[in-house]
Amino acid sequence: MLSFLTRRLLTFVPTFIGVTLIAFAFIRLLPGDPILLMAGERGVSAERYEQLRAQFGFDKPMWQQYLDYVWGIFHGDLGTSFVTKKPVLTEFMSLFPATVELGLCAIILATIIGIPAGVIAAVNRGKFFDQALMSTALVGYSMPIFWWALLLIIVFSGWLGWTPVSGRMGLMYFINGPTGFMLIDSLLSGQSGAFRSAVTHLILPTIALATIPLAVIARQTRSAMLEVLGDDYVRTARAKGLSPARVNGVHALRNALIPVVTVIGLSVGTLLAGAILTETIFSWPGIGKWMVDSIFRRDYQVVQGGLLLIALVVMVVNLIVDLLYGLINPKIRKG
C-alpha cells in the first residue's frame, strides 16, 4: 500500500511540471494583449504601453517569466492578479469552498440516485423501467445546462416560489467564514434560519450540476452490472439459492463498481475544476467563473496559478480514487 502511494506520488512530479508549462503557454498563446484589452476603445499611448509592460513584467523574456513563475511556486507565491491586485492564492481560497460544496452535493446526489437506478435498470433489462430510465438518462445527458438551469429557476423559483432564484445564502444573513462552506458556517453562526437558507439555495444548482454525472453514472452502472450478471460466479451464487437481493446487491454490484467508481472519480475531478455554466447562472461564487473571467481578461497570473491549483485538486482526487479501487477490490492493490 505504501509503495503504491509512493509510486503514485512520484508520478505527480512530471505531471506537475507539465501543467506549469501548459498553463504558462496556454494563456500566452491565445491572441490578445492584456494591456490593450484593459484599455479598450480608450487605448494607451505607446509610451504608456511600454511603461505598463515593464510594470507587469511582460517585457521580460519568456523563459525568465516562466522561471519567475516556477520560482514563485516553490516559495508558495502564485502571483498577483493584475486586475484585482490580490494574491491568486487568496482569491482561490475564498472561492474554492463554494465550488467544493456544490460539487460534492452534486456528486452525492448523482451517486445515490444513479447507482440504484442503474442496478434496477440492469436487473429489469429490456423492460419498461429500463427503457424509461435509459431514455431519461439520455435526455439528461444531452440537455444544455444553461437552458435546464434556467428552466429549473423559472419553474421552482418563479412559478412555485419554493426556492430562491440564485446566490448561496439569503441576504439577511451575514455569514463570512470560518470554513467557507455555507452548510457548516450557517450552523456555526447560530443565526436561526441560516442553515435552512443555505440548503434551499443549494437545491437547484445541485440538481442542475448533478444531471450529467447522474446520467453517466446510471448508464455506466447499468452496463457494468449487465456484464457481471452474466458471469459464472453470479450464476453459481444464484444456484446456491442466495436471495436475488444478495446476489445483485453484494456479489454483482461490488464487482461492477470498479468502472463506476472510475466514472465518479472523473466526475468529481471535473466538478471540482469549477462548473462554469452552473456557477454563472446561479450566481454561485466558485472558481469556474473566476477562471473564465480571467482568461477573457488575459490575467496571466490568475490563469497560470489557478490552472495549477485546479490540476493539483484533480490529481489528488484521482489518487483518492485509485486508493478506493484497492478498498473495493484487493486484487488491484497488489497489481
Partner: protein, 528 residues
C-alpha cells in the same frame, strides 16, 4: 419561501428597525476593486465612487452637467490656467469598524488624491502593489496639471500647463473621487496599504460594510452625510452575472433594481405590473469610420453616397431590439451642444447609386471591419456588417467583412494605411463634447483614436478653440457648428446610440438613469 424572504428582508440586517428601507441591486459582475482611481469599468465605479465617495465637483444626478460637490465653489483665472476651489467645511469621512477619522475633510485629502495618481514618487502611489492610474493618464492629466497647491486648509489651487475647459468635467469623474489621507496613513502604518483598494472610505451617502467575492457587497447609510442622509438604510449589491436570472430575481422580489436586461426580456418586463422599465439614451455612439486617406473614400461625396446606401433604421431595429436609436451626430442627444437641427443622410439607394456614378466610382469593392465583441453601442457587429454588405450590394458595391481579436482589432484599426471602413464606437467619460469630438475626430488623433484618419482644418480649429473657452454657452455654439461640418464631410456613418433600459421594482421611487451608465442610489427610496 417568497414570504419568508419578504418577512426576513423587513426584519433584516444588523438589528435595524423593522421599517428599515433595504434596497437590493442585482449587479452584473464583481468590482475589480474598491479604489476608483485604479480602474475604468462602470461596475467598479458603482461599487465605490458612485455610492461611497464624492468628488470636488459632481455630475448632477441623472445629467451630464456639473455641480459643486466637496468644493462649494471654484474660480477660473482669466487665462484659464488656474482653478481655485473653495472646499466645504464640516464634511466627515466615514466612521466604520475599520476606520475612525479624527479630523474633517480638508485640502490635504485633495492633494493626496491627485498626487498619489500623478506623482510616481509619492509614498501613496504604490499603496496597492501594481497600481496603475488609467483614467488619470488617459484624460491627459499628467501633461495638463502643472501643480496642485494648498492655499489654506479649505482652499486648493490647480495650475495647468494650458487652458482646458473640460478640466472641471474631468474632476467630476469617478477616478477623481476624494479619498482620506488620514486613512491611507493609518493603513501604511499598520502595514496593510493594500486594504485601501479593498475597504473603501469616502464622504459619500453610503458606507462600505463588507464584500464577499462574486457574491454580495453590503453598504449602510451614512447618517453623518453632509447632505440630507439617504432614504435607503441598507444597500446591497447581489452580484448576478446572468441577465435572465437577474430578471427572475427582480420578479421574485429578491432585488429591486437590476442592471443590463436582455433585450429579449424587455416585452415581458414591460407587461409586468410590478416592474417599471426606465429608458434613456446612453452616452455613446456606434459608427462606421471610413479611412478618409484611402481613395475613393477621401472624397466626401463618395462617403455621403455610401451613407445613403445603408438602411440604418433597419439595422437598429434588427440588431438593437429596442435598445438603440439611430444616430445622426457624433455626440449623443443627452449631451449638451447636441445639434438637433442637423438633417441626417436619408436612406436612398437610387440616389446613392447616382452619386457614386457622378463621382466616377465604378465597381467599388471595400472592406468592412466588424468588432469581435459586444458593446452597448453595437451588440452584434458581425450581423451589422452583414446587413451593410447586403445594402451596399444593392448599389453595386462589393463589401468584404474582416475581423480580428479585440486587442488586435483596436490596434490595427488605428493604422493610417488601413484598408477599409471600421465599425467601432465610444462611450463618454466626462460628459463633455470635447471627449467625443476632439478625441475621435481631431487632427491629433490621426493614427490613433481617430479611426477615420480625418483631419479637417476648419473642424479642428473650432474644437481647439472651444477647448480654451470656459463659458459653456459659447462653447456649445462652436460645437454645434463643428457638427455641421462633420455632417457635410461625413468621415463616419453615424449609426446608433444605445438606449439604456433599466427595469426597477414599481416600489422604487426617485431612481434616475445615470447617463454615464452608472447606478446611483442616493435620492432613491422605497414605497411601503
Amino acid at each position: 419561501m417568497k414570504k419568508i424572504i419578504a418577512l426576513s428582508l423587513g426584519a433584516m440586517l444588523m438589528g435595524s428597525a423593522a421599517s428599515a428601507a433595504n434596497l437590493v441591486y442585482c449587479s452584473e459582475g464583481s468590482p475589480e476593486g474598491f479604489d476608483p482611481a485604479l480602474y475604468t469599468s462602470g461596475t467598479t465605479f458603482d461599487a465605490s465612487a458612485r455610492n461611497v465617495m464624492n468628488g470636488l465637483v459632481e455630475f448632477t444626478h441623472g445629467e451630464t452637467t456639473v455641480e459643486p460637490g466637496l468644493a462649494e465653489s471654484w474660480e477660473v483665472s482669466d487665462d484659464g490656467l488656474e482653478y481655485t476651489f473653495k472646499l466645504r467645511k464640516g464634511v466627515k469621512f466615514h466612521t466604520t469598524d475599520f476606520f475612525t477619522p479624527t479630523r474633517d475633510f480638508n485640502a490635504d485629502d485633495v492633494i493626496f488624491t491627485f498626487e498619489r495618481q500623478g506623482k510616481t514618487d509619492s509614498p501613496y502611489h504604490q499603496m496597492t502593489p501594481g497600481a496603475s492610474y488609467e483614467y488619470y493618464n488617459s484624460m491627459s492629466l499628467p501633461d495638463l496639471i502643472k501643480s496642485i497647491e494648498k492655499v489654506d486648509d479649505y482652499t486648493v489651487k490647480f495650475v495647468l500647463n494650458r487652458p482646458d475647459a473640460p478640466m472641471i468635467a474631468n474632476l467630476a469623474m469617478a477616478f477623481a473621487s476624494i479619498g482620506s489621507k488620514e486613512y491611507a496613513d493609518k493603513l501604511i502604518e499598520a502595514g496593510t496599504p493594500e486594504l485601501f483598494n479593498q475597504q473603501p472610505i469616502g464622504t459619500g451617502p453610503f458606507k462600505f460594510v463588507g464584500y464577499q467575492k462574486d457574491a454580495v457587497i453590503r453598504y449602510v447609510r451614512n447618517d453623518d452625510y453632509w447632505q440630507e442622509p439617504a432614504a435607503i438604510e441598507n444597500l446591497i449589491f447581489a452580484i448576478t452575472p446572468d441577465a435572465s436570472v437577474r430578471f427572475q430575481k427582480l420578479k421574485a422580489g429578491e432585488c429591486q433594481v437590476m442592471a443590463y436586461p436582455n433585450p429579449a426580456d424587455l416585452e415581458a418586463m414591460k407587461s409586468d405590473p410590478n416592474i417599471n422599465v426606465m429608458t434613456k439614451e446612453g452616452l455613446n455612439v456606434g459608427y462606421l469610420a471610413y479611412n478618409t486617406k484611402q481613395p475613393p473614400f477621401d472624397k466626401p461625396e463618395v462617403r455621403k453616397a455610401l451613407n445613403q446606401a445603408i438602411d440604418k433604421q433597419a439595422i437598429v431595429d434588427g440588431i438593437f431590439q429596442g435598445a438603440g436609436a439611430v444616430a445622426k451626430n457624433p455626440i449623443p442627444p443627452t449631451m449638451w451642444s447636441y445639434n438637433d437641427a442637423i438633417v441626417d443622410d436619408v436612406y436612398d439607394p437610387e440616389a446613392a447609386k447616382a452619386a457614386l456614378e457622378a463621382a466616377g466610382v465604378k465597381d467599388l469593392s471595400m472592406k468592412i471591419w466588424a468588432m469581435p465583441v459586444q458593446r452597448p453601442y453595437n451588440p452584434n457587429a458581425r450581423r451589422m456588417a452583414e446587413m451593410m454588405q447586403a445594402d451596399l450590394a444593392k448599389v453595386g458595391v462589393k463589401a468584404e467583412i474582416v475581423s480580428y481579436e479585440w486587442g488586435e482589432y483596436l490596434e490595427r484599426s488605428k493604422a493610417e494605411d488601413r484598408d477599409g471602413a471600421v465599425l467601432l464606437g465610444w462611450t463618454g467619460d466626462n460628459g463633455d463634447p470635447d471627449n467625443f469630438l476632439a478625441v475621435l475626430l481631431g487632427c491629433d488623433g490621426v493614427g490613433d483614436a481617430n479611426r477615420a484618419q480625418w483631419c479637417n482644418e476648419e473642424f479642428d480649429g473650432i474644437i481647439k478653440q472651444a477647448k480654451e473657452i470656459s463659458d459653456q454657452d459659447e462653447r456649445a455654439k462652436l460645437y454645434e457648428q463643428a457638427q455641421v461640418i462633420f455632417k457635410e464631410q461625413a468621415p463616419w456613418n453615424t449609426i446608433a446610440h444605445s438606449v439604456v433600459n433599466e427595469p426597477i421594482s414599481s416600489k422604487v421611487q426617485g431612481y434616475k438613469i445615470d447617463p454615464f451608465g452608472g447606478h446611483v442610489f442616493y435620492g432613491v427610496s422605497l414605497a411601503e
